[in-house]
């Protein structure tokens, strides 16, 4: 049974090589996270992307992350994916994690569609047999037809999007981490993408999605978390958190 436990994590991004004047400029400006001085002589600059975030998810939980740009949604997703080990605090993850962020890892424009299915699939943790078994289904969903044997650079933008989406959603996941913007395309594709994502989410044990779209969160999630400046403002049911989010946006 998959589970996620996040205990009091803080994530600081160090900033290297910024010029003195640039540092000053940074301090006088307010961005999403908090910029702070760090290190023994207060001479290092770090952006605090997440501060004291805790959460607990179990089987069947579908969590929506809400927040303005720079609130820490993507960073939190990447912590859950295991990309970033937090500066302090603990993350315990049980289950196979499938991060579906914006790019397809290893997608190479000079390789054919088929070759890319194999490379990306392997990187996403599929075995060769699994990929071969699924490749025809991927090709069919992405509607590439004979293009599957041509280099990806000859594809239209929509075709690349469809291919990336089809590969990423072909896995059998336990924990799905979704960053919004994965499924972009024309209206007809958006509808088909939704169906495919629905099926993927149904197969999964836990879903965490970061999105600005209240509709999407209402549709897919049963819990929500509102972040602001790297801190948890509110956690709870979808409706109440969305209300708080709309109020903070209106302000």
């Amino acid at each position: 049974m998959a589970s996620i436990v996040v205990e009091d994590i803080t994530v600081d991004f160090p900033i290297y090589g910024s010029q003195k004047s640039f540092r000053k400029a940074l301090f006088s400006r307010a961005v999403g996270g908090f910029i702070r001085r760090d290190g023994p002589h207060q001479n290092r600059i770090a952006v605090r992307a997440l501060e004291n975030v805790s959460l607990k998810l179990g089987h069947g939980d579908r969590l929506g992350l809400l927040g303005h740009n720079g609130a820490g949604k993507s960073t939190l997703l990447r912590v859950l994916a295991g990309v970033y080990v937090p500066t302090s605090g603990r993350v315990l993850i049980d289950g196979r994690v499938s991060p579906l962020f914006n790019t397809s890892p290893g997608l190479d424009p000079d390789d054919t569609g088929y070759e890319n299915i194999v490379t990306c699939g392997m990187f996403l943790g599929m075995t060769r047999d699994e990929i071969i078994r699924k490749s025809s289904e991927i090709a069919e969903f992405s509607e590439l037809g004979d293009y599957i044997n041509l280099p990806v650079r000859t594809y239209s933008t929509g075709m690349v999007t469809r291919l990336g989406f089809a590969i990423a959603t072909a896995i059998d996941p336990e924990i799905v981490l979704l960053d919004e913007g994965l499924a972009a395309g024309d209206a007809r594709f958006a509808e088909r993408a939704k169906q495919r994502a629905d099926a993927l989410i149904d197969r999964s044990s836990i879903l965490v999605i970061a999105s600005h779209s209240e509709a999407l969160i209402r549709l897919w999630c049963n819990r929500a978390l509102l972040l602001d400046g790297g801190q948890v403002v509110m956690a709870g049911g979808v409706d109440e958190v969305i209300d708080a989010y709309s109020r903070s946006s209106a302000r």
Binding site: Y16, G17, R78, A81, G106, D108, E115
Partner: protein, 264 residues
């Protein structure tokens, strides 16, 4: 930073076990470089071959040496040096180049290092063709000592992985190091006995070879190719380098591995 030895060790073991992935990544990278060319990776071999043949004849003349003796020596040395130099240079960008992977999902980063070593080995395999031609021309003997090229290359591989990890780590944090390494290697090529023999250096400058690990890496590949056994001293130095290198890498990597995504 609290060291996580288990994480670092597991990274290398899991990285090696994922040979299907790094094998493919390395292979794709080579194909990408030479896409739509007719002779592919043999372009490197061709230019290296011309370099060796032209330089070989001119310098053999310059130093009053027999071309049939000098050419195989230069060729074997250049091939070995080329293998080592490209591994070290590509080591500096192994994590920087893998940013799109590293920021996407967790995986044993050493996979990228195995891939660097592997694809350079493939290029070396292509370049070996030059040596075979030269060997035919110069009647280089094939002896039992020639088989020592296998442990020689094994040393290159085993050390290549820690070099890639360590340099990759340092270079992703301190971006100047890459330039420093490239410049030093450029100079080292002319100081290390590749274009000239160790004996020509004389006794006083012998230090440039005796304690120059780069020389011994070249030597354990070059000597077997020429049908000779490398000196015991070379194996000894490389053994020391392997042990120290891996120990240092494990100590550093176990502390800073988790910082890599933050540095990219």
């Amino acid at each position: 930073m609290i060291p996580q030895y288990d994480v670092a060790l597991a990274d290398f073991a899991d990285g090696l076990a994922a040979w299907r992935i790094w094998g493919r990544l390395g292979w794709q990278e080579i194909r990408r470089r030479y896409r739509r060319t007719t002779i592919g990776p043999f372009w490197t071999s061709l230019s290296l071959g011309i370099f060796i043949v032209v330089l070989g004849f001119v310098w053999a003349n310059l130093w009053n040496q027999e071309p049939k003796k000098y050419l195989p020596f230069l060729c074997a040395g250049m091939l070995a040096w080329n293998l080592m130099q490209t591994i070290i240079n590509e080591a500096c960008i192994v994590f920087i180049g893998g940013e799109s992977f590293i920021k996407q999902m967790p995986f044993p980063y050493s996979m990228l290092c195995w891939s660097v070593v592997w694809r350079n080995l493939v290029v070396f395999g292509h370049n070996l063709l030059i040596f075979i031609c030269v060997a035919f021309y110069a009647n280089v003997p094939f002896t039992t000592a020639s088989l020592l090229v296998i442990p020689g290359l094994a040393f290159m591989i085993v050390n290549g992985v820690w070099i890639a990890t360590l340099l990759g780590l340092i270079c992703s944090r301190y971006r100047d190091v890459q330039q420093v390494v490239a410049s030093l290697l450029q100079i080292a090529m002319f100081v290390t006995p590749i274009f000239f023999s160790r004996e020509q250096l004389g006794r006083r400058l012998g230090l440039l070879t005796d304690f120059n690990a780069l020389y011994h890496f070249v030597e354990v590949v070059r000597a077997p190719l020429l049908g000779q056994a490398p000196a015991i001293w070379s194996w000894f130095i490389l053994l020391c380098v392997t042990i120290t290198g891996w120990t240092a890498t494990l100590l550093i990597y176990s502390r800073f591995r988790r910082r890599v995504p933050y540095w990219l």
